[in-house]
Point group: C2
Chain length 109, copies 2
Amino acid sequence: MVDTNICPKFEKALSILNKRWTALIVFQLLNGSQRFCNIESGIGISGRVLSERLKDLEKEGIVKRTVFDETPVRIEYTLTEKGKALEPILKQIQSWSDKWIETDDQTVV
Amino acid sequence: MVDTNICPKFEKALSILNKRWTALIVFQLLNGSQRFCNIESGIGISGRVLSERLKDLEKEGIVKRTVFDETPVRIEYTLTEKGKALEPILKQIQSWSDKWIETDDQTVV
DNA sequence: ATACTTACTTACATAAAGTAAGTTAATTAT
DNA sequence: ATAATTAACTTACTTTATGTAAGTAAGTAT
């Protein structure tokens, strides 16, 4: 990447949030801990990419993976404090979309 | 895409903002109108993708392209009201990154 | 034993982004 | 007058990211 004069922290944040699905995964987890297959079906992401994203988000300290040693084993993904702190961003996106995005109601008759 | 229970306006907003470079372009234009090459060098995007993104953003009504018929012709890109309204989102991202992203100061000696 | 579920991974196909060179039109430098 | 430079792109080609589908391992239900 080329040298820019933009704050590196901000750029880092964008490089995380910019990635496809990241925001939706976080949005989904704001409703509470969820299992792999629930996130998968909840937002319509493929398992391949979800697996990849969850690893990234774990590495960034945004998501925590917890294994419950029941039988069968249960694995849950939860937002960390850092992850929960993303809520105001998503809220802002929501209110922007409410104000500025039109629903092109494509109801086929 | 698979059917989800997420608000379509919100999904639409994310599909715009999620795209690589979109947020940085808007961020750059919050400083005022800019020319193609200034955005290009300002954020380190390639001309190919910048051209593509500006067209997308124009289509979404976020950016306005203005041709000044001087010689040589000058073309400026400006945020519309809809585009300016994205500022609070970027501000939120900024404050999140200030609080949660660490600078891994990789100063090579 | 067979089928089903969860949480993945692997292999392969398609779409998006990066790189570099080319285009057009006008401008300035020699 | 010719050559080089700048702005705003486009085109061709390569690399990376994402999607699709099938496979795996461990356990459960019938």
